[in-house]
């Protein structure tokens, strides 16, 4: 492939895709509404001309020939001399599919799609020859004009080596200006690159966070200088001051002024940085919003193909196609919506004869309605077919061993509908290429859940069914509630939070083996977030924030230690290695540079129901771990929680002291070398305070000399363990032994 073609190819691929979609849309509309033919056929020819011209200019002769034959085949329709037959529409749709496939093959520098393009070009030619227009009965042997102006006559032939003549009234196709000439009005950017750009703007926010800290440090430095200045002025010889010489105190004052001015400038720049990066983010996000009308053509085609295969008749209507949706979200929803409309044709719409016998119109009706509701897009796929046979679903569920017969009888119809979402569930008597494998609805459901959405099913037997998907408008940014639990901060999508209450343990009641909180007359399962995340059961404090979460029809109450407020965050998808973790739905980068995990409402709801047990209230012994290393804190936490202890953590001795003043702790495990207050000093302070004089303390150090051990014991530690010889069992034995001794 020559270098020019390689450079231009990405743009060409995009244009072929757009042209193919427009041609397909025109064909489908003309087939549905013959009155649209006069206007749509012109649009089709414009697109086909463009495709022919740009293919010719790039020397992609097979696509040029395909576009040419498509024009030829539709000329009769254009001139109102021939009807638009189903065969012609089918062939036209296959032609544009083949064009896209070939363009993709060119992008991969392979032969993919070439044979298909050649074959369909031949089919189009054969179709024309079977029903020629009067002036097409003899093919001209004159070489085609215009599109081949740049090629020598000997090369003017189609892909099969035959000379090809353009339709007599075809205009000279012009090379697409966007392809060959810089179009100053348009720049095409892949969605992936926009996404990448947006992530990079997050780096700006991280930078902002760091610079804020630098500004704070400047402020502290200024204050320290001021103190130093006061001291210096006090000590500076008065004679020197009287002599008027520029003194050290004066110079210091100048430095202070400079620092203050510098700090002020930094703050001004910070504000500008923040507002610029915010505007940039919002502009990038807005670029990604596209009208839902982009779904029209693929849905129409899906219904058309499904009707052909199932031998049913149905029309599709898309309502609310002007709703704007995140491009990424639209692509995610494409698959589920295609499946739902195919399902509607195969399972919902009855054969025409059956419909007429029950007084329905012969042609079924499928409506796809989009609307915006708050921060969500709500899409309903509704058909007027036979509806869901609840009795058949119950029977199938029992036959598959999913539920007992007795349980099946107690299920409400909406609960029976939910059985359809189970993997492999199908009531279809036979498997068709369309559906019946029971694969589709559970995949639809899992995609919707992954998008933090919900899927509702309604149906009336004999009247039809409706599937409603409700998803956040954008999966890129979301408002999340920030909650803290056991030293970690997590996000919960705000759309899942109904409200927040402050509850005490007395307000929690036991129903059977489950712990519940009564809200609005409904008993909601309750669990602590730490337990839901797989940690140990922890004691409930006197007042605890409870998040009342809703997911679909499930409501639960999730307890956490603290609420950190609400924030709008730009979300990133999880990397591959974290996708299996069902509790996580996305991740965001905070201005500090730390990551914040956004939890999945569906998984939280399910886990809360599972973990809401009476044991949640049982008390445990508490161990405080003080270490400036996050990995050490995490490791010791997991070891101690595994040993049945509740764990609190602190990043240094100061934080440990602060925590000990407000919470009850049974034992301390502390590192020795820590900033602000080291382990020896921490132990000394604890021994000086009557409240903590007897608190067992284990020093845990990297230093292993006899002197270090002696120093630890002298400070008041009850045990001294070394990191180099760390053994999990040893730590638990020491902690347990000390606690038993202290009891």
């Amino acid at each position: 492939m020559d270098e020019l073609l390689r450079q231009v190819l990405p743009v060409f691929l995009v244009e072929v895709r757009e042209q193919a979609q427009r041609i397909a849309a025109a064909l489908l509309l003309m087939e549905r509404e013959p009155s649209s033919i006069p206007s749509e056929i012109e649009e089709l020819f414009r697109q086909a001309h463009s495709l022919k011209g740009s293919s010719a200019s790039l020397g992609i002769l097979e696509l040029e020939a395909l576009a040419h034959e498509l024009e030829t085949a539709l000329t009769g329709v254009r001139r109102h001399q021939q009807p638009l037959t189903r065969e012609l529409v089918d062939l036209g749709l296959r032609a544009v599919d083949a064009a896209q496939e070939r363009a993709q093959g060119l992008g991969d520098e392979s032969e993919a799609g070439l044979a298909k393009v050649v074959a369909i070009t031949a089919e189009l030619r054969a179709l024309v020859e079977r029903s020629p227009l009067p002036e097409q009965s003899q093919r001209s042997t004159e070489p085609a004009r215009a599109s081949r102006q740049s090629l020598p006559a000997s090369e003017l032939s189609g892909p099969l080596g035959e000379s090809v003549a353009p339709p007599p009234d075809a205009e000279a196709p012009k090379p697409d200006p966007a392809l060959l000439v810089d179009n100053p009005d348009i720049i095409r950017v892949p969605t992936a690159r926009l996404l990448d750009f947006e992530r990079r703007t997050d780096d700006l926010r991280t930078l902002h966070g760091r610079m804020e800290r630098h500004a704070a440090e400047l402020h502290h430095a200024g204050q320290a200088l001021e103190r130093l200045g006061r001291e210096l002025r006090r000590l500076w010889p008065k004679a020197a001051v009287a002599a008027g010489a520029l003194s050290a105190p004066d110079e210091l004052r100048q430095v202070q002024r400079t620092l203050r001015a510098l700090r002020h400038d930094v703050i001004v720049d910070l504000d500008l940085l923040l507002s610029t990066s915010t505007e940039l983010s919002e502009s990038l996000r807005a670029m990604r919003l596209v009208p839902a009308a982009l779904l029209t053509q693929p849905l129409l085609r899906a219904v058309r193909e499904a009707c052909k295969q199932a031998e049913h008749e149905a029309d599709l209507e898309l309502v609310g196609d002007q709703v704007r949706v995140d491009r990424v979200l639209l692509e995610e929803l494409r698959g589920p919506l295609l499946h739902l409309v195919r399902n509607a044709v195969d399972h919902g719409i009855e054969p025409s004869a059956v419909r007429e016998a029950v007084g329905k119109p012969a042609r079924g009706r499928i409506e796809v309605r989009l609307q915006q509701s708050g921060g969500r897009v709500v899409i309903t796929v509704r058909d007027d077919g036979r509806g869901i046979d609840v009795a058949a679903v119950r029977r199938q569920a029992v036959a598959r061993g999913l539920i007992t017969e007795a349980a099946a009888e107690t299920l409400e119809p909406r609960e029976v509908h939910r059985l359809l979402l189970l993997p492999g569930f199908s009531t279809a008597a036979e498997v068709t290429t369309l559906s019946g494998r029971g694969v589709g609805l559970d995949v639809v459901h899992s995609v919707v859940q992954r998008l933090q959405g919900e899927l509702q099913i309604e149906s009336q037997l004999g009247q039809g069914a409706a599937f409603t998907l409700s998803v956040p408008m954008t999966i890129v940014a979301a408002r999340v509630m920030l909650i803290e639990e056991q030293g970690g901060v997590y996000g919960v999508p705000q759309t899942a939070v109904e409200r927040i209450v402050l509850a005490s343990p007395k307000e929690l009641t036991t129903v059977g083996k489950g712990l519940v909180y009564v809200a609005d007359g409904e008993a909601l399962p309750v669990a602590r977030l730490s337990h839901v995340l797989g940690g140990r059961i922890v004691e409930w404090p006197r007042q605890l924030p409870l998040l009342i979460l809703r997911h679909g029809e499930t409501r639960v109450a999730l307890g956490c230690e603290r609420l950190e407020g609400e924030s709008e965050l730009v979300l990133q998808p999880l990397p591959a290695e974290l996708l299996k973790n069902r509790l996580l739905s996305a991740v965001a980068m905070l201005p500090s540079g730390a990551a914040l995990f956004v939890l999945s409402p569906a998984a939280l709801a399910a886990a809360t129901v599972e973990k809401s047990t009476v044991e949640t209230r049982l008390a445990q012994r508490t161990v405080l771990v003080a270490d400036d290393s996050i990995t050490t804190r995490s490791l010791l936490r997991s070891v101690l929680e595994g040993g049945g202890y509740r764990v609190r953590t602190a990043a240094d001795g100061e934080e440990a002291l602060r925590l000990l003043r407000s919470e009850s702790v049974d034992l301390v495990v502390s590192d020795v070398r820590m900033p602000r207050l080291d382990g020896y000093s921490l132990v000394s302070k604890l021994r000086e305070d009557p409240r903590t004089a007897r608190l067992p303390v284990v020093l845990f150090s990297g230093a292993d000399s006899d002197d270090d051990r002696r120093r630890g014991v002298a400070a008041g530690a009850d045990a001294y363990l070394t990191k180099g010889a760390f053994e999990r069992g040893q730590l638990i034995d020491v902690v347990t032994g000390l606690l038993q001794g202290a009891a």
Binding site: R200, G534, Q572, P575, L578, V587, M589, G593, G702, K723
Partner: protein, 175 residues
């Protein structure tokens, strides 16, 4: 020429050729980055490394297996940090601070390897690594400079196998 003499000449020729080949093989080296964690030494080919240094922010992953230490940000992307001894089922020796790491890339994916200490880049004869691999071991061992005895036995990590490990989101065949 007596058969015995002919065999002797052929043997001598074969030995010379083998020595020559070994000399050629030893001249082809592969640069590896060495690092330590949990009392174990590891090395990865430099060509896979996109970052090596201090880990700024390591955020713990809720409900995650012990071989995932946490996540950190690199150029706006999230990278998971792996505890190799934990992943490979090696007994951890001692407890250190995982404050550094190497980020390796395979295609569009990146993974971080937690480290207590980065040892540097070493040129190792490629044939020596291949010989261990050919012996059937997935994780060949080589000796890098360092350690108490003047050399540290290190596991050379096959990065493509690491990314293929299903526990790390791969399709399989790794681990």
């Amino acid at each position: 020429m007596a058969e015995r003499d002919r065999l002797a000449i052929l043997r001598e020729r074969a030995e010379k050729l083998a020595t020559l080949q070994a000399a050629v093989d030893d001249q082809v080296t592969e640069p590896l980055v060495g690092f330590e964690i949990g009392g174990h030494g590891f090395a990865v080919p430099v060509r896979h490394v996109v970052y090596g240094g201090r880990l700024r922010h390591l955020t713990a992953i809720p409900s995650s297996p012990p071989y995932l230490l946490g996540v950190t940000a690199l150029s706006g992307h999230l990278v998971s940090i792996v505890d190799l001894p934990e992943l490979l089922g090696l007994r951890q020796r001692g407890l250190g601070d995982v404050t550094a790491g190497l980020v390796v890339a395979h295609g569009a994916r990146k993974l971080g390897l937690g480290a207590e200490q980065l040892l540097g880049i070493f040129e190792v004869p490629a044939a020596r690594i291949k010989s261990y691999r050919n012996a059937g071991s997935i994780t060949p061992r080589i000796v890098l400079p360092g350690g108490d005895g003047g050399g540290r036995s290190s596991l050379v990590i096959a990065v493509d196998e690491l990314f293929a490990d299903p526990r790390l989101g791969g399709g399989g065949g790794g681990g």
